[in-house]
Symmetry: C2
Subunit: 103 residues, 2 copies
Amino acid sequence: MAALDLFGRRWTLRIIWELGNEPLGFRLLQRRCDGMSSSVLQQRLTELQEARLAEVLRDGNYTLTPLGHDARESLGPVIEWSRRWAAELADAPSTAAEGAGDG
Amino acid sequence: MAALDLFGRRWTLRIIWELGNEPLGFRLLQRRCDGMSSSVLQQRLTELQEARLAEVLRDGNYTLTPLGHDARESLGPVIEWSRRWAAELADAPSTAAEGAGDG
DNA sequence: CAGCAGTGCTTCGGAATTCGAAGCACTCAT
DNA sequence: ATGAGTGCTTCGAATTCCGAAGCACTGCTG
């Protein structure tokens, strides 16, 4: 449950996802995350490091630890699901409440 | 990315997980989620229904839609990962212990 | 050395979200 | 009528998030 709590913080999932693609510097990572607040990014980065999911490279860039990459991969199915979800919403914008499609 | 944003709200992941186990009533679901705030639970339940992930049964209980169950299943790997993560943290509690020689 | 730009990180006031307790209308069993 | 439980709502306060500004440091240019 602690994991759901950790991931249930704004931007955490997104940061892990972005960092999983490639090591990123602070400011660049910030841009990748829709220009999220730097104060919160710093906060998340610290939490991620304490959780052993992220670490700082010699060159200063942020990256995922092996455990972090593991977490990122576990997010794969969630991303795949999100595509089906987006398709569902596009297919049935907001008319599910009325009438039974079956009959 | 919208999915990561939706899930990046406090309790959302937890609610989906708990609801995936079995249909639950409002108050019972609240207890399952560590007694989270009722106002926020109501908020999340509404969001989840709008996102077509949850719905209300004839008997009044809340449950996951097929799409919701799909999402719940996509969370499986994340849950499995969290176990490895917990094991890692238990194996290497903190960096502080390494340098702390005195005491 | 001086100027410009970019980086990681911090501070701070205001806005948004979450919390937590209380309460309302309703149902079921006594 | 009474006691207990349910879904849901309201509201003040605590916490988190936002967003802009700034600091110390580095690389490039002249």
